[in-house]
Assembly symmetry: C2
Homo-oligomer: 337 residues x 2
DNA sequence: CTTGGCACTTGGGTGTGTCGAGTGCTAATC
DNA sequence: GATTAGCACTCGACACACCCAAGTGCCAAG
């Protein structure tokens, strides 16, 4: 009873089940795959696999389906990531290169990913933390209303309107801008709070109140800047695969809608050497996703921002992983521009 | 066989069906409502209603359910919009007043609407067309890269990075800003293209190329400004009411995801005197929504931007309409601030 | 370790019978 | 003329029995 063949059997079970969505039995297995042994032998192998918790039978004397643990082994040790076809790669590239600005790039990316994988795609906006301050701008909209704009080197623009408690003159604002700009220009966004504190302490008393108000706004813009936004696409793919979700897809839609949940989900995944991370079914921390798998990876300069897809546990992992990886790479390349 | 009673019967059928989601028969009708006549009489009435196409029987000798036409009559002539309870109103108000900026207001609104109605909520961003230019700002990011910012009087901020084909100096940009700003300050966004054309023609030749590049960007920012964005919430409510959608909810999710479709849907509805518009089932232009109803209304100064909900045809119209109307009113009030 | 054979399990599909809610119609009644 | 009571009829839902095919587990032989 050789170990390699057992893994081969597991691989065959996963592959068959993924594309037939029906429990697969020993007979069908020897028919479709050249395993070189009889169905009885396969049955013995399957018994062992079941003991190890890698597959399970929905009911006595029915075929077997992979368990979450089985998928995990499949993903980690058996499957090979299938490279995308040349036309697919070409299509990705031209689509992404045609984008106009950052928002457009992200929008195209998420749609592309959804279409490529036939799953729900999730893309987090690029982190702004690693970038630096390229420019800041204050605009006096009204005596007590200031528009604060922060432009980062990665091209993101954040803005926010703040209210002050005392009137402010154009001239004062211009001076504030000069002082703050010279203090923080080129500073990493992650280091912004510190620099701002120093700058604030050196402000003349007359400007200090306004300075700290604006400073807080800047910190917010830099801190939870854009990386707290995510884009979704392909939710309709969930409905298409009803039946893959024994329970309703309600909890999944709920999770998708809660940006906080998705952000945590993406950021908490462990990204291994292959750079691509898979969470399978019950491995997901959030209960509503116990029937779903997430395939995600980082992208961008420091791979700090994430992107990925969410689908049923019964999923074509090799192809999906390839698509996610490819999209992440092309996106990173585009963003470097 | 009095006409008023027949309408009463229709009303009873709609109400019962909406909350029991089962075909309703003559017997159950006389039990639950004080109609003062026997079930046989009701049967006669129902026969007439069926002839008129207002109700239908799923199969011979089963109860009746309202047709789209029946719902239409119900909404137009029978139902009375139920006002919201005082605590509900209070909750709406405090929730919306706690918002920080426009994005936050819209986000809260759409979530509120979803929760209030238990349906999918759709909110279009306020139109920017009626507002005026409050300020513009150009920032030189690189010799051939300019950040163009447009701030409107309604508080919306649009920005975009444009590339030029020739280098540009800070000083030139400052002059451009002076000239353009003086030309368009206070101008209605809808009138922006005209004013920009005039201003461009008066530019010195050296600045003309850059001026027109920037002008085009400004036009875009003003034109399709923010009113082409919509927010969604409560998609999970669709899943909860599976069974209300005989077909899959796939087409509906698809429609929701296509912003273009939703925008057309919202803008094409006819808003009658009551200011609230209802599209029932097959009345919807888009085929995928033939099982769904849309309840929407305008909000804001000129009621130009829309907001509403989407749900199954089998819906509690009076309550839903009340909620949509109330949210629109409170939102309008907040935006006036 | 592999294999053929065989008894056993079980979900799914099909056919039948019953039950109850509900209708449509007719004739009597107000 | 509208309303009502009564009655025959229809049909979906449910329960039950039954069989079939797919599949398993195990044993004994190779």
């Amino acid at each position: 009873m050789s170990e390699p063949r057992r893994l081969e059997v597991l691989r065959a079970i996963v592959e068959d089940y993924v594309h037939s969505r029906e429990p697969v039995g020993s007979k069908a297995l020897v028919d479709r795959h050249q395993l070189g042994v009889s169905s009885a032998t396969i049955r013995n192998d399957m018994a062992v696999l079941e003991e190890e918790g890698l597959i399970a039978a929905p009911h006595t004397s029915s075929g077997r389906i992979p368990t979450d643990k089985g998928y995990r082994l499949f993903v980690d040790r058996i499957s090979e990531v299938k490279p995308l076809s040349a036309p697919e790669k070409k299509a990705i590239q031209t689509l992404l290169e045609g984008a106009e600005d950052l928002d457009d790039v992200m929008d195209r990316t998420v749609r592309l990913l959804a279409q490529l994988t036939n799953q729900v795609a999730v893309v987090q906006f690029p982190r702004v933390g690693g970038a630096s301050v390229r420019h800041i701008e204050f605009v006096l909209l009204a005596p007590q209303q200031i528009l604060v704009v922060l432009i980062a080197t990665n091209g993101t623009v954040q803005q926010r309107i703040v209210r002050t408690h005392a009137d402010l003159q154009e001239a004062e604002l211009a001076e504030l801008k000069q002082r703050i700009l010279s203090a923080v220009s080129g500073v990493k966004l992650s280091a912004l709070p510190g620099e701002l504190a120093v700058a604030a302490s050196q402000l003349p008393p007359a400007l200090r109140a306004h300075g700290s108000t604006i400073g807080r706004a800047l910190e917010q813009l830099a801190g939870l800047g854009r990386d707290d936004r995510i884009l979704l696409a392909g939710t309709a793919n969930l409905a298409r695969s009803t039946g893959d979700f024994p329970l309703s897809i309600g909890p999944i839609l709920e999770a998708l809608e809660e940006q906080v949940v998705m952000l945590r989900l993406l950021s908490e995944m462990e990204y291994d050497a292959r750079g691509i991370s898979v969470r399978i079914g019950s491995e997901n921390p959030y209960g509503g996703l116990s029937e779903a798998s997430v395939v995600a990876t980082g992208y961008g300069p420091d791979a700090g921002a994430k992107l990925g897809i969410l689908g049923p546990t019964r999923m074509d992992y090799p192809t999906t992983m390839a698509a996610v990886r490819a999209v992440a790479r092309y996106l990173s390349r585009i963003l470097e521009e």
